[in-house]
Symmetry: C2
Subunit: 159 residues, 2 copies
């Protein structure tokens, strides 16, 4: 078994990390704590936004109670201190976070604020029974995700 | 390069996951979303508790402002819906979560409540300037972590 292509080199690094760090499989790597922090944040965010997005698109059954829970968690996660995860120095290493984040910190943070506002608005209306308006607001939250990803997230999914 | 020992087999699985899933390196694996959710939660929890624990032990300089931030985030993270991450079925696969969690769900949840109460108490006092009391409460939070880990977290750090 030989590692020769960049893809395999990357896998080899992942393998080495898994062997070296006893906590690697719990997503915590001493060498990249900020990356681990922000990736964990994005995971929690996605796991709350994901099902709401699917409900809004009709890809899964609409469930008012579940949606209220997701909306509440989404706002809570959005309001955590994400910027810790983008501390100076954490642009190093294998990451899909583009260097422009650290070059345009204020713009990046303003996009984070857009997400927070949109999530708060969604949570505030999540229980009101107006599915059309809720679905539109889910779309509005999704736009704040996309707006930031377009500019600041690498499309290289090997990273 | 050959994979023969259990450790290497595990690494091989990690490697396969990294190759197969484009999002594996962002801690999101379609096959184990609940594990990914709970591991992300524990990462955020640990990254807020960790520095407070170190301050309480005198292993890093005490910083009232930083501590207030960590205590606020700790309470917010503790109050997220962790139990989603321990849904039925998510006891499968490579995990340090012991099967007893699913056998003693009520006890596990009561230990989670202990953490939430201790974190809320810590956050409430974090700004009051009484370092001795704050350090003791950090210890009290740590005991709620340990109490649960002792019973429900495998000590096999290969997992």
């Amino acid at each position: 078994m030989r590692f020769s292509t960049p893809r395999r080199l990357l896998a080899c690094s992942a393998l080495a990390a898994a062997l070296v760090s006893p906590l690697a499989l719990s997503h915590f790597d001493d060498k990249q704590v900020n990356q681990s922090y922000r990736q964990s944040w994005f995971t929690l965010l996605a796991m709350n936004f994901g099902p709401m997005g699917s409900m809004a698109k009709g890809e899964m059954p609409w469930d008012d109670e579940a949606l209220k829970g997701y909306a509440r968690e989404l706002e809570a996660v959005a309001n955590l201190n994400l910027m810790r995860g983008f501390a100076e120095g954490s642009e190093q290493g294998t990451t899909r976070a583009k260097p422009e984040i650290w070059q345009n910190k204020a713009d990046f943070e303003s996009k984070l604020e857009d997400l927070r506002k949109a999530s708060a608005a969604l949570n505030a209306m999540a229980g009101n029974g107006d599915r059309k308006a809720i679905a539109e607001q889910i779309g509005a939250v999704g736009k704040t995700c996309k707006s930031c990803h377009d500019e600041y997230k690498s499309k290289n999914y090997l990273y």
